[in-house]
Symmetry: C2
Subunit: 322 residues, 2 copies
């Protein structure tokens, strides 16, 4: 198997070699090229390639499906950015900001269909299962996004609902990516199921770790300013878990969350989190899901050195230092 | 074969029997139920059922794919209504008006994936071709919608571009619907191709006839107030063809189009159309595409009484009286 960096470079070059209709149709396809050229870790398509290589040396065959998974991911970002009215992504204007909301909607729709086309460029014998895995995942992602939007106006959120939301929005896509790769590689049904579990659990641990880093991380290694979630009133794992304490803690947290965006607000909310030790609880939950991911991975029939490659990927994703 | 009304009733009852997740996820799925319950002629899914019955008595097997085609059609309406800021559809508030724009975007995305799931509920041996036909059609529809949006700001539109636009937005969906039905029914490659042609040409004739009716029709049988396209500055076949005359006609038309929406504006534009006889030209073009549709139909291997069923459908769609 190659290194993560090598797989990532393969994805990058496959994305760069995509060609789209020009001329009259530029206004539809330019925004798609723009969205796909934003860079990033390309973790999801890397998982497709790794799954295909691990189970059958089929990374080459999995390249278009990998590009499809990345196209799907970017379609969700385009539409999420319209819905969240986000103006910046990866240091560049979002599509609806650079073009307009209508372009972001229609180019996003096009990306979803293109993603379905690319992902299903597999042998006919594998088509049904790859297509079903992809469609089920897409539905999970929309359901997760809907829950996330509803949480904005919710007074109280159960931790179980929060976990369901991030499993939909983040976990299912990582799970489907590695499962589709495994299927292309010829994995058994049981191995494909276990790799899906590995991906979902890694996704959950990753997202909760991300919530933690946004408050307790180090901005130079995290890559984003610390406290953004608090400033934007984002209901993260920390917030939901702290609110579950009820009583005075919940009251104080609601009051602090209602402050206008400022350093003072970030400090006030962080102080509450620290007081009740919700940061530690958060880290424990990250550990819990990481273990579940590794347990699923270990139960596969993969040889040890291939398991090691997936352990490294999980470590890279979750083990990011503060 | 059944009558069009019977097929339509089958579609209606299949749509009514769809069940969606409730509870926490109601805010995602209620708008979908709402959109699918708007009624209408259900022509596109009827074409799926007719194709399947004509070539292999397989209407029952084609019911879910038919529902998928109708779900796709309604997804495009949801997103188009957001983009066009339309508040009313079929006498009811549009989804983004009844709920909000974010709901319309996300529920629309969900409908596209559900449509893909339903349409591909076919035998494995037919999956590849049905999926490819569906995805190619979807891309055509987006491209058509993009051209339509770009036309709003275009000073001059070539008739060929206008035809490309409606082939994408309307023709390809009718073509794909009947082709998918034919494939499910076991049609030969050549018959499937011819039925696609029949559907596309019927769609073109239907759309151009619709443009004509909007100005020259009778509001009681047309079902919509006459002159709506003129009031909304819609660049229809009539407008594009009249503009192609150039010179004083084009100048007068642009001036009339720039008038504020009023009965006077409708009359002024209609007078220009009448003066240059663009209504007759329009009817001639409808006839041209109708003939092409029937020519393709006649070239299939279908027995005469089945051809007759498709002729009736085209007649019902295109032959609407003013």
């Amino acid at each position: 198997m190659k290194t993560i960096a090598e797989y990532s470079a393969d994805v990058e070059s496959a994305l760069r070699s995509l060609t789209f209709p020009g001329g009259k149709l530029e206004s539809l396809y330019k925004p798609i090229e723009y969205a796909l050229s934003a860079g990033g870790k390309r973790i999801r398509p890397v998982l497709v390639l790794m799954g295909a290589d691990a189970f059958g040396d089929k990374a080459q065959e999995a390249l278009r499906p990998a590009v499809g998974i990345e196209t799907f991911h970017n379609f969700t970002l385009l539409h999420d950015d319209v819905m969240d009215k986000s103006d910046v992504r990866r240091g560049r204007p979002t599509v609806h900001k650079k073009y307009d909301a209508n372009t972001a909607i229609l180019s996003g729709d096009t990306m979803l269909t293109l993603a379905t086309q690319y992902v299903t460029e597999v042998e006919n014998s594998k088509l049904r299962e790859v297509l079903d895995t992809f469609n089920r995942m897409a539905i999970s992602v929309y359901e997760g996004q809907q829950l996330d939007m509803d949480f904005e106006h919710a007074d109280k959120i159960a931790l179980s609902d929060y976990l369901e939301m991030i499993e939909g929005k983040t976990g299912s896509l990582l799970g489907a990516a590695v499962k589709i790769g495994a299927l292309i590689g010829g994995a058994s049904e049981e191995d494909a199921r276990l790799m899906y579990e590995y991906g979902v659990m890694t996704g959950l641990a990753f997202q909760i770790q991300d919530d933690w880093l946004d408050t307790f991380g180090d901005s130079t290694t995290f890559g984003k300013p610390i406290g953004g979630d608090i400033l934007n009133c984002k209901k993260t794992y920390l917030y939901v878990a702290a609110l579950e304490e009820g009583g005075q803690t919940a009251e104080a947290l609601r009051a602090a969350f209602n402050m206008p965006p400022s350093d003072m607000k970030v400090k006030a909310v962080t102080r509450i989190y620290e007081k009740i030790g919700v940061g530690d609880k958060c880290k424990k939950v990250v550990g819990h899901y990481s273990s579940k991911a590794l347990k699923a991975l270990n139960a596969t029939s993969l040889p040890e050195e291939k398991k090691e490659a997936f352990r490294k990927l999980a470590e890279k994703l979750i083990g990011r230092k503060k």
